[in-house]
């Protein structure tokens, strides 16, 4: 089951528990618009290449649609649709006035020059500029896209529609970006960890964490967990990992990663594989790498009592069921990694109001949003005796559904 199918599965599970009926299920799961475009480009060496780009806009009942734009050879329509709907539920869970969207271009950007990437981005914007916009659909960085790409999008869009910084989020700080945006997903994850640990009578301090993935989510999560007094016993990235049951020296680990470009080979612990990290002795497991890392094959090996999904769809539904049976609490992606889109929302708000918030304000507002959202989900989970993930989807369907009913069809 791929991540798009997993989203559908979790959505349907909640929709059926709520008994919304087949037609409402169809209404809520069918995307508003799916756009496929062709982007032809003359490479630096004179070759002509044609790339396929997608933008799927899933639901706008709660506001303009919001979602990342990724550059990856495996981008396709079905996956983009799944991720777009995931964004609808995610923005609803954290109660942002947004709907969900996702997009991407089928391209391997590691084989392109910066100039080629810029031309590709601008030509893609030429193709979709009439369906995006600050009140329509607001892209953001995703796999292989970064603040520079967002700056190009803003610039190209503004050529058509006038100065429009709010058309895209995740922009560079020096060009209408928000302070705190880069660490936002990791920080949101920390806030969620604080809440669930308090619920089980514990706290981040002295709790043992294992974090799979050392990218934008994992690295900030590791640093913030460490700053909060948590013990990071294992970390890995795509090359491999390092484990130390007494706790890794996190500042030294960052030094090593900065020098080597990987956490592998850090001498403050023993080397381990990604599989070993998932099965290591810890209290909280944070899968923050790619999707589907926890499967029915390895789910039974997990020793953590709590899983906090830093990545999108790291648990296959079969694995999720095993965790439910074993009483392992899973904080779902649509809450655990919603810090990123939440601060994207703050960036959009600042752009629309022509103001700049300081980082303390950004982090403070983020904490409020994450705490409130966790509380709502935990309360549904307690009163209805449902796992956190189903409760999160119930909350999301409820919010999207209410907007749909109130607006009328």
């Amino acid at each position: 089951m791929n991540s798009a199918e997993a989203t559908t599965y979790y959505f349907q599970k909640a929709a059926r528990i709520m008994d919304v009926g087949e037609r409402i299920e169809t209404l809520l799961s069918t995307p508003l618009r799916e756009v496929k475009v062709q982007v032809s480009l003359e490479l630096d060496n004179g070759e002509i290449r044609t790339f396929t780009g997608f933008r799927v806009q899933h639901d706008n009942s709660r506001g303009p649609m919001k979602g990342g734009l990724r550059y990856h050879p495996q981008v396709d329509a079905a996956e983009t649709l799944g991720l777009a709907s995931l964004m609808t539920w995610k923005t609803a869970v954290v109660n942002l006035p947004f709907g969900g969207a996702k997009g991407g271009i089928q391209v391997d950007p590691t084989h392109m020059s910066l100039k080629e990437l810029e031309r590709l981005t601008r030509k893609f914007v030429d193709q979709i500029q009439d369906i995006i916009g600050p009140t329509r659909d607001i892209p953001a960085p995703d796999v292989n896209t970064n603040p520079q790409v967002m700056a190009w999008i803003m610039d190209q869009y503004s050529k058509y529609h006038g100065h429009s910084p709010a058309v895209v989020t995740g922009k560079p700080i020096d060009l209408y970006g928000s302070k705190g945006r880069e660490a936002a997903t990791g920080r949101g994850l920390l806030f969620v960890c604080r809440e669930i640990l308090r619920d089980v009578g514990s706290q981040v301090r002295a709790t043992r964490f294992a974090v799979q993935g050392f990218g934008n989510v994992g690295s900030h999560a590791v640093r913030l967990i460490h700053d909060d007094g948590g013990i990071v016993v294992a970390v890995s990235d795509v090359h491999g990992g390092v484990i130390n049951p007494r706790g890794l020296d996190v500042p030294a680990l960052f030094e090593h990663a900065k020098r080597q470009g990987t956490v592998q080979g850090f001498n403050g612990g023993n080397a381990c594989t990604n599989e070993e990290l998932l099965a290591c002795d810890c209290d909280v497991l944070v899968p923050a790498a790619m999707g589907d890392s926890l499967t029915k094959q390895n789910a039974n090996d997990v020793r953590a009592k709590i899983i906090v999904e830093g990545a999108n769809s790291p648990c296959e539904p079969e694995a999720d069921e095993i965790f439910e049976k074993k009483g392992i609490l899973v904080v779902p992606d649509i809450l655990a990694n919603a810090g990123g889109v939440t601060v994207s929302y703050f960036e959009w708000v600042q752009n629309l109001q022509h103001v700049t918030w300081d980082e303390d304000r950004v982090n403070g507002e983020l904490e409020k949003v994450m705490k409130e959202s966790y509380e709502r989900i935990a309360s549904i989970s307690r009163s209805r005796k449902l796992p956190l993930r189903t409760s999160a989807y119930v909350l999301a369907i409820g919010r999207v559904g209410k907007a749909t009913v109130l607006r009328g069809i």
Binding site: I24, V394, G408
Partner: protein, 166 residues
């Protein structure tokens, strides 16, 4: 007995399955009549005691002055009168000069009382026609009920959401 009349009657649904002898029994109690264009044959609401078989010409049937149907040779009007119906449910008038066969209820009931095969076969045929009409009306009724009982799927969804209280 005119052969042409017998042939005509053999061809109409009301007489399906009747032998020549049966039809002769029927003709014996029937009366051949004619009407001029524009003549009223019967009027809505008056007692109906005669069944009519149109032999030639056209008859226009109306209800509350709205046209219902134009009947031609071989059609039957007022069949309810043989089955105990009391008053005419519609009016009929000759749209052209018309020849028709009138069968009165009284003599027909006497045939039935004698277990006359022709009369019983006719009742059977009329029952079949009425059964088909009843089935059609039932369909229409269900359709119109379905149309009036409007679904409220969006409002139902709203009620579900209220039950979950977010």
């Amino acid at each position: 007995m005119p052969n042409a009349l017998l042939k005509k009657l053999q061809g109409i649904p009301m007489c399906a399955g009747l032998t020549a002898a049966d039809i002769e029994d029927l003709i014996a109690i029937a009366e051949e009549k004619s009407a001029k264009k524009g003549d009223k044959l019967f009027t809505e609401g008056e007692p109906g005691e005669v069944l009519m078989v149109v032999l030639e010409g056209k008859v226009e049937v109306t209800k509350r002055e709205a046209p219902l149907a134009t009947l031609e040779g071989g059609s039957v009007l007022g069949e309810m009168s043989l089955l105990g119906g009391d008053t005419r449910s519609a009016s009929a008038a000759a749209a052209t000069d018309v020849k028709y066969l009138a069968i009165r209820n009284g003599p027909f009931q006497k045939l039935i009382a004698k277990d006359n095969i022709a009369a019983l076969k006719i009742v059977h045929n009329l029952a079949k026609v009425m059964g088909k009409r009843l089935a059609m009306i039932n369909e229409k009724l269900v359709d119109s009920l379905g149309k009036t009982k409007k679904k409220e799927e969006l409002a139902d969804f709203g009620r579900i959401l209220n039950r979950w209280s977010f």
